[in-house]
């Protein structure tokens, strides 16, 4: 029995020693206050550190000296810890285990707290709270998804399969979020606004690569000058599908001249059922009428619409392209390609005829 007891005790001790749930040691000096990290959990491993970066459990007063321990390279940071990065200091961390891992850079004069950090349902779930400072991260999509949010007092950054994005927060709530020019995916910026029964999120915008927003929630494209090329499409120089695409998307850049309802075919002089001038063309020439391609190919005349799309009746366009004629005829009506002319139209359809 003594032998059995000793064998059982030895077996228990040995099993305990090799139990994978045993705490893994933390590298670096001053690591006595680091929390336990179990296999399967997500942690941030410090790959580069400079200056006097310090870590402490969440809730420690950042102004005090007590409770803060220096961070060393190779150390792991987990949920429930906060990082204080003073001047002349920076820290770069990588989330592990994750495939592909997340790379996070915390810049100088920053105070952040890692609220949640875990692998949940196959996704790397992380919630970081930033009191002030700047943080940049690159999160690439791989075999596992990445669910990451960075919360500031007045705004939240939610990444949508993104690298490299940044979030700068000032202590008074002003912030700037951006996605680098070569960044991928989207970043969603959400303004936090308190409601009557607690905080509620409002006013969100998505950022595409190269864009940034600030606390005024104004896109950079509204403010930045000479920062990007602006294509001015020449609707007369473009042909075919290119012309059609341009007109459908931005009205050829002259959408501001359109009457209420933006009647593009009418503006371009194409056939419009509402103007009552082209019923014959509609019936005989499949290229004209409602087919915008046909309109572009056969008519280059700027026509004036007597009524808007919704019956508002804004009348004729401003005299930018000349005075409004009472009646305009298709230049090529009466020809094999132009179709039949309207009743009463003179035979000599090669010239304009005005009544």
């Amino acid at each position: 029995m003594t032998k059995n007891f000793l064998a059982a005790a030895t077996l228990c001790l040995t099993a305990g020693f090799f139990d994978p749930s045993i705490v893994m040691g933390q590298a670096g000096d001053g690591a006595a206050s680091q929390p336990a990290v179990k296999t399967g959990e997500l942690v941030y491993e410090v790959v580069e550190v400079g200056g006097k970066v310090a870590v402490s459990p969440t809730g420690t007063d950042a102004q005090m000296k007590e409770g803060w321990t220096p961070v060393a390279k190779g150390q792991t940071i987990g949920a429930g810890q906060q990082l204080r990065v003073p001047t002349r200091s920076r820290i770069k961390m990588v989330a592990r285990p994750a495939d592909p891992p997340t790379v996070i850079l915390i810049e100088q004069m920053t105070l952040i707290n890692i609220g949640e950090l875990a692998m949940m349902d196959g996704a790397a779930h992380s919630r970081i709270q930033i009191q002030y400072g700047a943080i940049k991260a690159g999160v690439a999509e791989g075999t596992s998804r990445s669910d990451m949010e960075i919360e500031a007092p007045t705004a939240t950054l939610s990444k949508k399969g993104t690298d490299i994005f940044g979030f700068e927060v000032q202590a008074d709530g002003r912030f700037k979020m951006f996605l680098t020019a070569n960044g991928r995916g989207l970043v969603q910026g959400i303004i936090n606004q308190s409601g009557a029964f607690g905080s509620s999120r409002m006013n969100s915008r998505f950022l595409t690569p190269g864009q940034w927003i600030t606390h005024q929630m104004i896109r950079a494209i509204d403010n930045v000058q000479f920062d990007r090329e602006v294509m001015v499409n020449d609707i007369y120089g473009l042909k075919g599908v290119d012309q059609l695409f341009t007109l459908l998307n931005n009205h050829g850049g002259v959408g501001f001249l359109l009457p209420v309802g933006s009647n593009t075919p009418g503006f371009l002089g194409g056939a419009s059922q509402r103007d009552g001038l082209t019923t014959t063309d509609l019936n005989t020439n499949p290229q004209s009428g409602n087919n915008l391609a046909g309109v572009l190919q056969t008519s280059t005349q700027i026509r004036h619409v007597t009524g808007g799309d919704f019956g508002v009746g804004q009348g004729s366009l401003p005299g930018f392209f000349g005075g409004p004629p009472k009646l305009q005829l298709r230049r090529d009506c009466g020809t094999p390609t132009g179709g039949l002319c309207k009743p009463g139209t003179p035979i000599q359809a090669g010239n304009f005829t005005r009544r």
Partner: protein, 220 residues
């Protein structure tokens, strides 16, 4: 001032102002106006902070700056020494003042008092000196010998988007100073004004030839 003089006129009848001006009152008003211009609007903080910043180390002091509503001249001087040298080993305001003025970061002509609130222009000038931001033509021609030096320095920082649009004589909040210090420190690191490991995360330095993010290897 004209309205004040009119109300004190006892001529009792409609008379040109120039005849009813009381010379002694006029000069008194003139002196008071001039004093206001010379002294400015600087004054001590109305409320004292919850913690004494002199009891905090440099890291704790930086956290304190972020939370302070207004910053005094003494605190701003300490912040500038931390920005310039990475630490502040001074024992008091006099020592900080002497250090900054001897290096040309601050100017004695400003006559700033330790307990008064710092203004944006003075702070901007000090940051420009520390970060070696030379400024434009106006700053070089006039600011170099003191005419509008602080105003031009502030305009330069606004142009560089290191501070938001503000007036050079307005008071500086702790959040403003903290944000400015962060950007100034980043600029100094970029310029190589202090030794650093140059840790960064950028498109240029952290992407491979395919545009994929480069993940640093584990140090363990």
């Amino acid at each position: 001032m004209v309205v004040l003089v009119e109300s004190l006129d006892f001529c009792g009848r409609a008379a040109p102002i120039i005849r009813c001006i009381r010379p002694r009152l006029f000069f008194l008003a003139l002196i008071l106006s001039g004093s206001a211009l010379v002294c400015g609007c600087a004054h001590p903080r109305q409320t004292e902070p919850e913690v004494n910043p002199n009891d905090l180390n440099d890291q704790g002091f930086q956290v304190y700056l972020a939370r302070a509503p207004l910053i005094t001249v003494d605190e701003a001087y300490r912040a500038m020494l931390i920005l310039a040298d990475g630490e502040d080993t001074s024992q008091g305001f006099a020592e900080r003042k002497e250090k900054l003025e001897s290096r040309g970061i601050a100017r004695a002509a400003w006559n700033l008092q330790a307990d008064n609130v710092i203004d944006a222009g003075s702070l901007a000038f000090m940051v420009c000196r520390i970060c070696k931001i030379s400024g434009g033509v106006n700053s070089t021609l006039f600011g170099s010998w003191g005419l509008g030096d602080r105003r031009y320095a502030l305009r330069e920082l606004i142009y560089r988007q290191m501070v938001d649009e503000m007036i050079d004589y307005q008071f500086v909040t702790g959040a403003d100073l903290h944000g400015l210090m962060r950007k100034a420190d980043a600029l100094m690191m970029e310029k190589g004004l202090y030794e650093s490991e140059n840790i960064d995360l950028t498109d240029e330095g952290d992407r491979d030839e395919h545009g994929e993010l480069i993940v640093p290897p584990s140090p363990n």
